[in-house]
Amino acid sequence: MCRAQLPVWQKFYEKHDHENFEILSISMDTQGAEVARRFTEAAGVTFPSAVDRAQGLWDLYGFPVVPNGFFVDEQGILRYVKIGDFDARNPADVTAIEALLSAPSRQPPPGGDYARPLIKALQTAQEAAQHDPKNLDLRMTWAERLVENKQDERARREFQTVLDVNPKSTRALVGLATSYLDLGQKAKALAALRQASDLDPGNWIIHKQIWAIEHPEQFYPAINPDWQKERLKEEGKK
């Protein structure tokens, strides 16, 4: 249960945030920021926190599970990668990150701001996509920015355009699902997610996301692990 780690990472952050260090938490909730924000707020999280609804990051970094940890140094180089089971309550994981932080590091000059306006990110993505119209990755990035800017109908059309060219794009299918969810079309969202799950059956993120949308009562406010075990047994029989 990833969300139980949030208060532990907050404590870690308070201990180390003067060491030229930031935590960027990214939730993979296809349902959107609201469902994730409940948990960061409850945990009193003060580090930057974001959501990757259409799972562009999962596509870019290639991971089929959460929780994951990636440590990036001052030059933008990956120094640590743990995919699956990364845990603030696991001493080995915490020690690995603290070892990286023990190296001296100088704070960059002040004034660096990580947050950019939504509309600016949309404009940048749109320009890139229109400059290279055949590049499907750029088109999906643009469509994801459209969703964030609540232009869901437009986003839906862009994801569909990608799917017309590449019907097996799981990222486009998950993206399509995010626009349908925002448009209040839950059945269509689930259909797109199931299609994505069939194309990528080992992807646990999509699989569990479908469960959470179909059966929110088994995940919120409390996660029911027994229900999940039962569900797996049933799916195994099919």
Binding site: E22, I23, L24, I26, P67, G69, A121, L232
Partner: protein, 64 residues
Amino acid sequence: MHKLIPFVLGAMLMGASLPLGWAQKIRVGEPAPDFTVPSLDGKTTYRLSDFRGRRVLIFNWASW
């Protein structure tokens, strides 16, 4: 292969292993691919390359 899936998922539910045939796209020692993600308050975006000059732990999770 399909018969194996419930077992693999079952193992992951307990927090054990990764699925077969899965390919990691990133490596330690290589540049972290850049990305933009919207903040949870829905007002701004974060871009990884904007953190350049700082050390960043990306913690990847989900509410479920």
